[in-house]
Symmetry: C2
Amino acid sequence: MRKLNPEVLELSAEERQWFEEAFRRCARRVLLATTLAGSGHPGGSLSTLPSLLMVYALARVNPENPRDPERDRVVISHGHISPGVYSVLAEYGFFPEEPFLLEFRRAGSAFAGHVEQAVPGVEWNTGNLGQGLSAACGMARAAKLKGKAFRVFCLMGDGEQQKGQVIEARRWAVKFGLNNLCVIVDVNGLQIGGDTYQVMPQDLAAEIEATGWNVLEVNGHDFEALYRSLRNFLTGEVPRSDRPTAILARTVMGHGVSFMENDARWHGMPLPPDLCRQALAELGFDPEELDQWQERRKNHPVSFPHQSHDPEPVEIDPGEPLLYGPEVKTDCRSAYGKALLSLAERNNLPGRPPKILGLTCDLEGSVKMTAFRKHSPAAFHESGIQEHHTAAVSGALSREGFLVFFSTFGVFAVDEVYNQLRLNVLNRTALKIVSTHLGADVGEDGPTHQCVDYLGLLLSLKDFEIYLPADPNQTDRIVRFAATRPGNVFVGMGRSKVPVILDEEGRPFFGPDYRFEPGQGDWIRQGEHGTFVTYGTMVSRCLAAREILSQRGLSVGVLNLASVRPFPREDLLRAAEIGPILIAEDHLVETGLGARCAQELALAGKAVRLRLRGWEEYPSSGKPDELFARAGLDPESLAREMEALIRSA
Amino acid sequence: MRKLNPEVLELSAEERQWFEEAFRRCARRVLLATTLAGSGHPGGSLSTLPSLLMVYALARVNPENPRDPERDRVVISHGHISPGVYSVLAEYGFFPEEPFLLEFRRAGSAFAGHVEQAVPGVEWNTGNLGQGLSAACGMARAAKLKGKAFRVFCLMGDGEQQKGQVIEARRWAVKFGLNNLCVIVDVNGLQIGGDTYQVMPQDLAAEIEATGWNVLEVNGHDFEALYRSLRNFLTGEVPRSDRPTAILARTVMGHGVSFMENDARWHGMPLPPDLCRQALAELGFDPEELDQWQERRKNHPVSFPHQSHDPEPVEIDPGEPLLYGPEVKTDCRSAYGKALLSLAERNNLPGRPPKILGLTCDLEGSVKMTAFRKHSPAAFHESGIQEHHTAAVSGALSREGFLVFFSTFGVFAVDEVYNQLRLNVLNRTALKIVSTHLGADVGEDGPTHQCVDYLGLLLSLKDFEIYLPADPNQTDRIVRFAATRPGNVFVGMGRSKVPVILDEEGRPFFGPDYRFEPGQGDWIRQGEHGTFVTYGTMVSRCLAAREILSQRGLSVGVLNLASVRPFPREDLLRAAEIGPILIAEDHLVETGLGARCAQELALAGKAVRLRLRGWEEYPSSGKPDELFARAGLDPESLAREMEALIRSA
C-alpha cells in the first residue's frame, strides 16, 4: 500500500497526483456501493475520503497483518461513512473491491451499513454517534500503559461533536496525557437536519481548545494540508506536545461530484442509478459499469463473512480465596475490594505494565477501590463524573490485553450507560463490571440512587454474564472467577453489611471447599414444603423467614441463584418439583429474577404455585430495613406469604 | 419571607446582616439534619447555602402558593445538597423546620436524601448528576413558548460539570434563546474523589464561554457579590442579554465550620455527634440541642409525606381518525406523522401558544415530523445529536402544560436515554415518546441501529404505558389515544412499509368502528388449534403463516398485543385455553413480549405448550426479509414451528 514518511516536510508532486487519483477511485467505489445497495451514506463518505486516504497512508498499518498488536489504530467514529472506509481499505489492499461492491449491506456479509471490526482494518463498531473517541482513548491509553509506540487516529463527523460524551472523552484524554491520539473531524457543515450550526450552535474550535487540546484547522480536500497537519501530530510539532491533537478538516459534503456538493440529501441516501451513472462519468469512469455490477450482484452469494477479531488475551492468576468466618459482618463490596487488591498483588508486578486496570467515576471509596489504587496507582483510573465515556473507554481497554474492572453504583453502571454497554457487546469486549449499591439496599440516598431495574437491562445485553453474590465469601469467589472469564461479566451487590451465610452446622456455606460454578444454584437450605428462590441481600431475609416457618412446622428450602446468566435452570425445575416457589428480590418485580424464573417455568410447561415478591413501585428514601418492611419484604411478611402459598394447595 | 428588589443596586447593611444570620441558622439545620439522620451531604450544602438564600430571596416564589404557575422555577441539579435546600426553604417559611429535622431521610417522609418535588419549593427530583440543567431548560423554554415572565434558576455543583449532558443543555439553551435562565455553580473545588481539577481537568469558565453564555465569577460567600451578579441577570445587565447566564460562585466546601472547610470527607458524611455539637457551638448555638432532637426523633411518626405536584394539565382535542384503506401500503411512521399534523391543526392555533410540542434529534425526516414543523415551527425543537439532554428537556416540558412528543429511533429513544427516562418517571412527567425504527426491521443500518431490546428496558420503567401498533390505522388511533393520556406513554413502530391489516371480509381490521382500548388484545383471526401472539411488523408475517397452515388443514388464530402495558392478560389466558401459543416478535427473546407473556402464564399456573420466537442473537446488516428468514422469523418457518407445536400434543 501507499506509505508516507512523516519525516519528509511535504508531499512530492507524484504523491499529490497519486492521492488525487486515489480519491477518484475511492469516490467511484462509494457511489457504486451505495447505489448498488440502494441505501447508505455517500455524502459524508466523499467528504471524509481525503482524510481517510491520508490517515491510513501515514498510520503504521499493514494489510497483510491487519491485527498486528503493534499497529496504529484507526477508529472511525462516524460509522455511517462505511462506504468511504471500505473504499479506502480496498484501495490499500486490505481486501479486493469485489466483495465490498457486491455485498455492501447484505445479510451475512462483513460489509455492514455501519463500520464493524468484522472488516480487516476496522478497529471498532460504531454507528451510534459520539462513542468512537472514547474507544480511541482506550486504545491510546493502552499504548501508554504498555509502553508501546502505536498511535491512535480517530476520524469523526462534525454533527456528532454535539454528543456530550465527546467532551467527556476529550477531558479524559488530557488527564491521561494521550498525546498519541489524533482526532480528525470532517467539518462538512452538514448533518441530516441541515447546516450543523443551525441544528445546534457550536464553536467547535473554541470548545476543543477549552479542553486544552491542540487544534489545527485545514482544508480537508487539500492533501498537502492534511499531510502537514498529520505530520505535525506525528512529529510532535504541535503547540503542546503532551496533549492530544484535533485536526478540523473543513470539507464539502458530497465532495468531488458537482451536483452532490453541499446537499444534505446525500447524507443518508444513495444516488438513484441515473445520477450515479452521471457521477461516474463526471469522475472519469464508464457509467455503464453500474449496470454490470447490478447484474453481478443479483446472484452473488455472500463470500466475505465477518472476520474474527478477538480481544488480546491476558493471563490472570486468580490466586487463593480469602475466607470470611461466621463472626465476620462486612459488606460484599469490601470483599470485592480485598479480592481486587489480592488480584493486583498477584498480577500487577513491579516494573511491568499492569495487567489489571480499575476505573471508577468519583466513587473510589464507595466501591472499595482505594487499596487497589494504592497498590497499582498507574492502573487506577479516576474518570470523573463521566459515566458514558468511562463505560466505553473501559470496554476498549478490555480488548487491549488488560483485565478491566469498571466499578460504580448500579444506576450509573447499568441504567446510565446501557447503550455504551450495548456497543461494547457488539464490539466483543471483555469488560468486568463490579457494581456496588444495587437495590433499595442503598437506603437513604433514595430512588435516584436505588437501582432496582438492573436485571431487566442486563438480560437485554446479549452476552453479559450476570452474577449476584450472597455474601463476602461468595463475592470473593465470583470476583476471582470473573477475572478469568474471556467475555463481559457483571457482578452486582448491595451496599449494606450482610452476615456470612452459614450451613446447617454453622460453618460458612461458601467455605474452603466451595467452588463457584456458573449456571448452578446454591441450595443453602433444603425444604419439603416449598422453596424461597432468592439472591444477594435477600438471602439472609429468606433464611430468617425460613426459621419463622420452621417454628410453625413448615420446612422450606432456600435456593440462592447467584448465577442469573447462565441461568440455573435445573435447580429451578427441581424447586418446582418440591412445591410452591416464592421468589424474593430487591428488584422491580416485572423484570427481575422472578420474571426470568417464571419465563423458564412457563417454557418448561410447569404449573407451579408461584409468587414474585420485590418492588411493585419505586422504593423511597429511608433505612433499608424500614423500606423492606413497608413493602412486605421483611422476614415476617415473607414467612406469612410462603405459609399462605403452601396452605393454598 | 425575605424578599429583595433587584432594581436596587446593592444590599443594605441590615440586609447583609440578615443574610449572615440566616446563613448561620441554615447551617445549624444542615448539621442537625445530617447528624440526626446519620447520613447525608453537609459539605456542599454549606457551601451552596449563600447562593440558595440569595436565589430564593430574588426569585418570585411564594411559600403560601408554592405551585403557582407564574412562579420562578428554582432547580437544584446537585440533589445531594438537600439539607441545604430544605434548610433554606424552612427559613423562608415553606414549611416548619421540625418535620425536616425529625424526618430527613426517613421512609415515608417527603424529606428524602436527594431533593424531590414532593417538598414544596422543590421543582425537580435530582440526584443523578448533570440532569438538572436540562430540566431547567425545559422550564425556561416553557416560559418563552407561553410568553410568560417567569425565570429559571438552576443551582449546580462543580463536579457535575463533568457530565457531557451539561454541555448539551448549554448549547440548547443558546439555540432557544433562554436568556431567562441563570445557572449558579457552587465552585467549591471538591468532589468525592478530592480536588475537582485533579479528578478531571476542566477550565469551567472557558468551556461555558465557548458555548456562548454570559459567565460571571464571584465569591460565593459574599452576599453582596451574589446579589449583584443575580441582579445583573435579572435586569439584563450582562454582556449578551439574549443569552443565558452562568454565575461561577467560588466557595469553600464545609463553609462556616472551621474544621469542616475544604475537607472532602464531609461531602457525603455527616458529622459524628461530638463534632456536630462542636460545630453548633462554633455557630453560636446550644450544642446540647442535638441530644434533644435525637430524643424527639426516636418516637416521632412521619408527619410530612410526599406533597403532590401534578403536571400542569393541557386539554387536547384528539380529532377524528384518519383511515387507511386496503389498497394503502405505507409505514406506521408516516401514519404517525399525519396524526401528529392533524393533532397540531386542531390544537396549535394561530396567535396562541402551541399546546403540542415536537422534539427530535437530527432525524426529523425519518421520524416524519416535517409536516408538524411546517405547521407549527415554534413548537418544533430540532435538538441536535444530543439525546440525553433532549429526553430530559422533553420530560420537563411535559410538566409545563404541553403535550410533548419526543421522536427518534428506538436505540436513541430508549437504549441511549434510559436513565433520563427513569428520572422523568420519578418526576412524574407526561411525556409521549413515539419511536420509529424499532427492531431488525431497520434493516441495512445494522445492529447499532436495530433496537431489539426496548421492551426489556421499557418494562423496567414503572409507569410507562407501552403501545406497539400493527398498521397505519392502529397507529393513528394509538397516537390520538396517547395524546389524551395524563402520564408517560411509549408508542413504538418499525421502519418498513406494512400492509393494512384486514378482517376476514377484506375490510380494514382497525376500521371506522375500531376503538383502541389499552389492556386489550386484538383477535385479528380466530383459530381452533393454536394461536400466534404477536405485534407490530410481525403481524402480517403471522397472518401469512396462518394462511400456509390453513392449507395444511390447521386453524390458527392471530392475537395482536399492541398494548403491552397495560398488559392484555385476559386475551392471553384465552389463547392459553385454545391450545399451543407461539409468540413471534422482532425483539430479543429473553426480554421481549414472549418473556412477558410467559411470566403471566406462569403466575396464572397455566401449563401450555409455548414457543418464543425472536432474536436469539443480535441481527446484522441486511434487508429485513433476508434477516428474518435467516432467523426463522419468516412466514414459512413460523408455520412450520406452529405445526410442530400443535402436532407435539
